[in-house]
Amino acid sequence: MIGVELVKLARRPRSWVSILLLCALPTLVAVFVAVTHLAPPPGQGPALLSAVLSSGALFPAAALAIVLPVFLPVAVAVVAGDSIAGEAGSGTLRYLLARPVGRTRLLVAKLVALVVYTLAAVALVTGTAYLTGIMLFGAQPVAATPSGLTTSNLAAGATTLSGTAMSPTEIALRTLGAVSFIVVSMLGVGAIALFLSTVTDSALGAALGALAALVTSEVLVTLNAASAVDPYLPTRYWLAWIDFFREPIVWRNIERGFAVQGVYVVVFLGAAWAHFATKDITS
């Protein structure tokens, strides 16, 4: 059944169009920055973008920072929201279950397809961004400092910076860490959308519901009055992956981020399973 779901995912034009668009946006940003040489000053604009002009090897991380706030969660929520509700809406759910495909098995297969989609999306964004980055900006060595990233250009010399120079392997490893953190964060979104997908027969409703949860969380994160719930909000630690590019790596928020997303994934998948397994299929 997992194979069937992967085939469905791969043969669906929407999967590829959404990933293509996800890759296109950072490329567009890169082209503008490369043509004008006007990177946003550090601390403004998408994270890490300011450092990109001096080293293209950092662009994958910058690209992830560009798609993370809106486009990636939207894509994941749409795919996850479609998983059960889409089958219900098109009337194919009843035929799958009467095949028979066990309800738990179907849910697991959908989840695997969702993980594969998220991995593919993040990996392809990272890959294309690496290629554009190297092509447009070159690959100079970079230094990481406790406050973030600094580039060790030749004029300043490595000695004037408190950070240590990062080798390409190290950048790759840190990017890998960031990628896994982002994938897990997206699975938190996906789990919420998947649960809603078992509740409603409208794929759109499930996707929008998950996005509404994210927007709510974003609003509460900025609100001092909501500081009591702050550590438990799904988007609270979303940007913690930037800590992978500090020297030394600051693990505190990264660990908390993994933990919070883990709880969301477990709770919402459990709820999805409990609801779907006992539900009357009337679609």
Binding site: M1, G3, V4, V7, K8, R11, R12, P13, S90, G91, T92, R94, Y95, L96, L97, A98, R99, P100, V101, G102, T278, D280, I281, T282
Partner: protein, 314 residues
């Protein structure tokens, strides 16, 4: 094959299926008749384990449903509330996905299975256009092909001829009769009286969630004890039959005597020409109208009675 005991389903306060005792025997061609919204589809969904009963028991091929439904589903082909498929894929690709889902046969024989199923459903020559460009009839055939993929022992079909033209309806009827002759039990729900009358050997009539009658079609259509006579000389025939004519409608007489041979002999002896003489039988429509009572205006079918969509939970 299918036995239910006091099968009941409520959605909140709405009673959709009420104490239904179905009995479908092996080899039956069972017609499950009822107006739209009478609970047919809900019963079908419960038989397949899609909807859980509020109370009552279901046994399909000797296994309790929904507890052990996964053991019998592989030998059931089903069509529930219209066919459905992934619109952006071709018919073959859709069948391949359905075939690969669940406990399918071997991958090597998949192409052959799909070919056979398409051929049986009358889609053998179908091109690779996506299903969203299929006509309603083609979709219906594709749905049937999906139901036939595994050479099922039991077919549970909800309105199988929906959307087909008269020729297609006939083809499907012949196909179902042929499958039945080869040992497949057919359980089909319909609101088309004529369709059930032509295909089925056994009929269950459901009205507002209750099974109001269940019997062999032959028993339901028992002779009424009257004969229908057609003659070019109706006036003379009435005189010969002397008071036995219950009703006269131009050249068609309704005679209160079951013995058609005797009537014929009397008429011919008196020199009255007889063009047709048969024993009157109750039509399925009469039976349905008599058992569904005030709900009869919900019925579709060949008669002049308009079909009204009632209550939205079909």
């Amino acid at each position: 094959m299918i036995v239910t005991r006091a099968l009941t389903k409520r959605y909140g306060r709405l009673l959709v299926v009420d104490q239904v005792d179905l009995d479908v025997r092996e080899g039956d061609r069972y017609g499950f008749l009822g107006p739209n919204g009478s609970g047919k589809t809900t019963v079908v969904r419960m038989l397949l384990g899609l909807v859980y009963a509020t109370s009552g028991e279901i046994t399909v091929m000797g296994r309790p449903v929904p507890k052990r439904v996964s053991e019998v589903l592989p030998s059931i082909g089903s069509l529930v509330e219209g066919p459905s498929a992934y619109g952006h894929l071709s018919g073959r690709a859709n069948l391949a996905l359905i075939d690969a889902a669940g406990k399918a046969g071997s991958r090597r024989t998949r192409r052959r299975r799909i070919g056979t199923a398409l051929e049986r459903a009358g889609l053998a020559g179908v091109d690779s256009r996506p299903v969203k460009r299929y006509s309603l009839g083609m979709r219906q055939r594709l749905g049937l092909a999906a139901a036939l993929l595994r050479s099922p022992r039991l077919l549970i079909l909800d309105e199988p001829t929906n959307g087909l033209d008269p020729q297609g309806i006939r083809e499907i009827r012949d196909l179902l009769a042929e499958l039945n002759a080869a040992g497949t039990t057919v359980f089909m729900s319909s609101h088309q009286l004529a369709e059930v009358e032509q295909l089925c050997t056994r009929v269950g009539i459901v009205d507002r969630g209750r099974l109001v009658k269940q019997d062999d079609l032959a028993a339901m259509r028992a002779p009424t004890g009257r004969a229908i006579v057609r003659t070019p000389d109706p006036d003379r025939a009435v005189a010969v039959l002397d008071g036995q004519v219950d009703h006269r409608d131009a050249d068609r007489l309704l005679v209160a005597d079951a013995d058609t041979a005797a009537i014929n002999a009397r008429l011919v002896a008196a020199g009255v020409r007889v063009s047709e003489i048969t024993a009157e039988r109750r039509s399925l429509e009469d039976v349905v109208l008599s058992v569904t009572g005030t709900g009869s205006d919900h019925f579709g079918g060949p008669g002049p009675v308009p079909r009204t969509e009632s209550r939205g939970t079909s």
